[in-house]
Amino acid sequence: MALLNDDAGAAPVPEGAEAALVRAFADEWASVVATLIRTTGDWALAEDATQDAFVAAARRWPVDGVPSRPGAWLTTVARNAARDRLRRGATEDRVLRRLAADPTHAPADDDALTGDVALTGERPDPHATVPDDRLRLIFTCCHPALPPDARVALTLRTLCGLTVPEIARAFGASEPAMAKRLVRARQKIAHARIPYRVPAPEDVAERLDGVLTVVYLVFTEGYAATAGSSALRVDLCLEAIRLARLLTRLVPQESEAHALLALVLLHDARRPGRLGRGGVLVPLDEQDRSAWDAGTVEEGLRALVRAQRLAVDDAPYLLQAEIAACHSTAPTPAATDWATVVALYDRLLAVAPSPHARLARAVAVGSAAGPAAGLTALGALAADDVLRGTAVLAATEADLLRRAGRSAEAAAAYRTALALAGTDDERAFFRRRLEEASHTA
C-alpha cells in the first residue's frame, strides 16, 4: 500500500496476524476514530478512514507481519486514507489544510495520540492540554442535546466500531432507519456545534451520568434482549463491558464509573448459568451457580471495592452493584442476605426511584419476609404506568403466587405473562412454569 509512510517497525510474525487484528480492533478502533475526528472535524470521514485502515491491516499484516505499534500504524494509515478520500472528493480543502497543519501528525507523536498513556495505567488528567481523544469522543457521543437512541447508536458506531447493519439488527431497526439516525446525529453535532471536548470540571460529574446511562443501555439491551439474535446480544454485553472498563481508566476518580463496571461484570458473569438447555431462560434462584464465571465475578468485586473507596454518597450504580454482589457471593439462593438486599433497594429507591427497582424490591421482600409480604409489596405496583400490562409484572406476581402455594392463581398469571412476552426465550420460560403450575393446581 503506497499510502504507508510511517516507520513503525514490522516484526515477521504472520501466524499471529489474525489475533493481533482482532485485538487491535478492540483496543485501537476508538482511539483512531477519535484522533481522526479531532483532526478532520468530520465524523463520517473519520469512521470511513478508520475502516479503510483496518481493511489495509487485514491485507498487510499477514504478509508483512504485525507492526510493533499497531495503534500508530493504524492511525497513520487512517490519516492517509482520510486524505485520499478528501482528494478524491476534492471539495473539502479546509479539512485537508487542517490535516496537513496538524502538528501531531509527525509519526513520533503517534503514541501520544493513541491513548497508550491511559492504557499503561497512568492516571490521565482530564484538564491536561491534550486529553485522551476517546474521552472527548465519549462525551460528545453522549451529549444530552442528542436523542437518547442516537447516543447509543453513535457510541456503538464510533467508539465500538460496530457496523450500521450490526447496530440495526441489535436494536431491531431497519438499516436505512439506523443509518438515518446516525446521519442526523452527526449533522446535529456539526450544525449545532456540539463541542468535541471533555466538559468543564464542574460539569463532568453531571455529564458523566449521561455517559454511564448509554453504556448501561447497551448492556441491558444485550442482557435483557428485547430483540435480535443471541450472538448479537452477547456482543452488546461485551461492548458495554469494554466501554465501562475504558471509562474507569479515563475518569479513574469517578466512583460511579467503577460501580458501573462492577455491575455489568457481576451480571455478565451469570450468563453461562442464565440460559438452560434449548436456550430457556433460567431464573436467578434456579441457576447453577458453579457455572457462573468466577474470574468475572472476581473482577467485578474488585471494581466494586474501588467504587466503594471513592464513593462519597449513595449512588445508583454503586447500590445496584452492591445488590448484584450480594447474589454473586451467596453460595445458594437461600444463603443470600435478603434483608441487606431489601435495605439496598430502599436506599436505591431514595436516590434513583424507578418502577423496575420497586419491582425488584418486591421480589427481594418476597424472599426476605415470605411470598405473602412480597405480594403485598407488589400490590402497590399494579397501578404503575410503566409496569402495568407488562410480562415482567405478571411473571413476578405468578412466581410469588407459586411460592405461596396458590397454584391456580399462579397459572393464570403465567398465562398472562406468556401472552405478553416479547422474546422466544421468555415464552419458553413462561410455558415451562405454566406447565409446572398447572400440574400442581
Binding site: 449533522q187 450544525h191 449545532a192 456545534r193 456540539i194 463541542p195 460539569d203
Partner: protein, 240 residues
C-alpha cells in the same frame, strides 16, 4: 412599531421553484426600511431545549437539557425577520409578500420590549462568522413563579450577556392572542387573528446569541429567567 415575523413552513410543503428564494423579498423590504434583521434556522432536529426546573415548572432544579424543540409541530419555525413598520396593516402587507406565505404561514408578533434597546448595537444584528443561535422563549401553562420575588424580567441576564459580548439583541413579545398569522393561497391573502396554531406553549420572546459552541449556548439559556418559568429552545442559525 416592531414585529417579529416567525416564518413557519412544513417539512412536506412543495413550494413552487420561484418561492424557494426569498432574496427579492429581502432586498425590497430592506430598501423600504421595513426589515431590520433576520435569520434562517436549522431544522427542529438540530434544536435543543433547556429548562431550569425539575419535575414541574417552578420547582427549582438544575438545568435540564432535552434534545429537539419544545414542541414538535408539522409547521415549525424555519426562520424569522425583524420588521419595522408604521401599522399592523403594513406588517401584514410585508408578510404577504414573503414567498413562504404561499406555502407556509407567517406569524406576526409585536415586540414588547422590557427596556431600551442596546445603544451600541442594532437589535438582531448578527456578525458574520459568529456561531449564532436563536433562543426562543416559551411559557409553560400554569407554571408558578419559582420565587415570588422572581419577576422573570431578564434585565440582569441581558446586562451580563452584553458584558460578555454574547448578546445580539432580543425582546419579549406581545401575548400570542395578539398575533396575526398571514397566508397567501391562490393569490388571496388571509389573516388569522391569533398564533398559527393553538398551543399551550407559545413563543413569548426571542434572543440572538453569539456563542462559542452549544455548551456555552446551553449555559446562557439555562440562566435566562424564561428557563425558570418555562423553556428556552436553542436553534442554530443557517447562514444564507
Amino acid at each position: 412599531m416592531r414585529y417579529l415575523m416567525l416564518v413557519r413552513a412544513s417539512d412536506d410543503a412543495h413550494p413552487a421553484a420561484e418561492d424557494t428564494d426569498p432574496s427579492t423579498w429581502f432586498e425590497e423590504a430592506v430598501r423600504r426600511g421595513q426589515r431590520l434583521a433576520g435569520e434562517r434556522l436549522r431544522p427542529p432536529s438540530d434544536a435543543t431545549t433547556v429548562r431550569a426546573w425539575d419535575g414541574a415548572p417552578g420547582a427549582a432544579g438544575p438545568a435540564t437539557v432535552v434534545h429537539g424543540p419544545f414542541v414538535e409541530l408539522a409547521e415549525h419555525v424555519g426562520g424569522f425577520d425583524l420588521l419595522e413598520v408604521s401599522s399592523p396593516q403594513e406588517a401584514v402587507e410585508v408578510a404577504a409578500g414573503h414567498p413562504v406565505a404561499r406555502f407556509g404561514a407567517l406569524e406576526l408578533r409585536e415586540l414588547a420590549p422590557h427596556d431600551e434597546p442596546d445603544p451600541d448595537g442594532v437589535d438582531g444584528d448578527l456578525l458574520p462568522g459568529d456561531a449564532t443561535y436563536v433562543l426562543l422563549m416559551a411559557g409553560v401553562p400554569d407554571a408558578p413563579a419559582p420565587d415570588p420575588a422572581d419577576t422573570g424580567l431578564p434585565l440582569d441576564w441581558v446586562a451580563e450577556m452584553r458584558r460578555r459580548g454574547l448578546d445580539r439583541g432580543g425582546s419579549p413579545l406581545a401575548p400570542a392572542e395578539e398575533a396575526m398569522t398571514v397566508r397567501v393561497r391562490d393569490g388571496r391573502t388571509t389573516v388569522t387573528h391569533g398564533p398559527f396554531a393553538e398551543l399551550a406553549e407559545q413563543v413569548s420572546g426571542y434572543n440572538l446569541l453569539a456563542a462559542a459552541d452549544l455548551d456555552e449556548a446551553i449555559e446562557v439559556a439555562g440562566r435566562h429567567p424564561a428557563a425558570r418559568h418555562g423553556v428556552v429552545e436553542i436553534r442554530p442559525t443557517w447562514p444564507f
